[in-house]
Subunit: 193 residues, 2 copies
């Protein structure tokens, strides 16, 4: 999605350690009009799938998933990180390692909101090592739901997450794929759609 690549170049910042800051429009301050444009693009990319629910993970995935869900006219379910006293005992859960925060945490979804009748689109802001998406796929597997696709805003193509998902035949679309980054030099992968 060219508009996203341009926005990353204009408003993003590259920091040491392969960190791309897009907190001006995506994961701290959120440009809602622009996220709507991404929602339309996800709808186009996954238009052939019978999606009835969007699954994401807190925190920064939630707002994006909610805007995107409007173009599919489906509810959102967000996986929670760590046990909350407000949740039922009746949950799907798995462990996820965080690249950003350098720790392992539990994610969970109530069994009430994920089951064999569901056709799921996973939405998240970033894909790097793929740990969060792998965790969500595991919860979907446990529930008997069908994974219809994975939609990512920004993929770090030089890390293994996207490569491994594609190798397994998962229907992954990333709106921007960064093949290399250093200081202010960002190289995006050519779009194949």
């Amino acid at each position: 999605m060219k508009a996203l690549e341009e926005k990353i170049r204009r408003e993003g910042q590259v920091r040491p350690g392969n960190i791309l800051k897009v907190d001006a429009f995506l994961n701290h301050q959120m440009d809602i009009a622009f996220i709507n444009e991404m929602g339309k693009e996800f709808r186009r990319l996954f238009s052939d799938r019978p999606i009835n629910k969007i699954l994401t993970i807190e925190a920064s995935g939630i707002g994006i998933a909610c805007i995107v869900a409007q173009y599919f006219q489906v509810p959102v379910v967000f996986a929670k990180k760590s046990q909350s006293v407000n949740l039922d005992g009746s949950i799907y859960t798995t462990k996820v390692a965080s690249f950003t925060h350098k720790k392992v945490y539990d994610i969970l979804v109530s069994k009430k909101f994920l089951g064999p009748e569901d056709h799921i689109l996973i939405i998240d802001d970033f894909l790097a090592n793929g740990c969060a998406v792998e965790g969500l796929i595991q919860l979907i597997g446990e529930s008997g739901a069908t994974l219809e696709g994975v939609g990512i805003c920004i993929e770090k193509g030089f890390q293994k997450g996207g490569r491994e998902l594609r190798k397994r035949g998962i229907n992954l679309h990333s709106l921007a794929i960064i093949d290399s980054m250093s200081d202010n030099d960002l190289v995006f992968r050519e779009e194949d759609v």
Copy 2:
């Protein structure tokens, strides 16, 4: 908002310890069409204010704030809980006590996204003791921004948060106010608008 009261009666569950579970439509699974209706109502309630930004706090406030923001055509900023390695050193921060999780955590907003030129509407899913909203108001105060109002989906009217905000003259609107709850008996406060 009668439609919200009816939805809480239909889809919510009261649990011991004054816990109201609305995870079927608001803070785990999210009914995006219904949250759009709440967005329209917030727009009506705050239509006289020059709002240029919506402020909320992760995690469950984010999705609601993003949908609501569409009716104001403004960006969202969400306060983060605890230090993230992706954030600048240049932040506003304060401490917040959590009723639900029974602990104290830091919340923070980058100085880039909040300043004297901003006119802020705070949006959140719940108001009980008011600790989260008080924390956000403190960050707004530090930044020099103007607080234009506070919009809450569900207020627990029998806890002190709402009463104290109104006493200080803060422009607070809650879409549903619960005056008492026990088992399956919910009493809502009459609307004054």
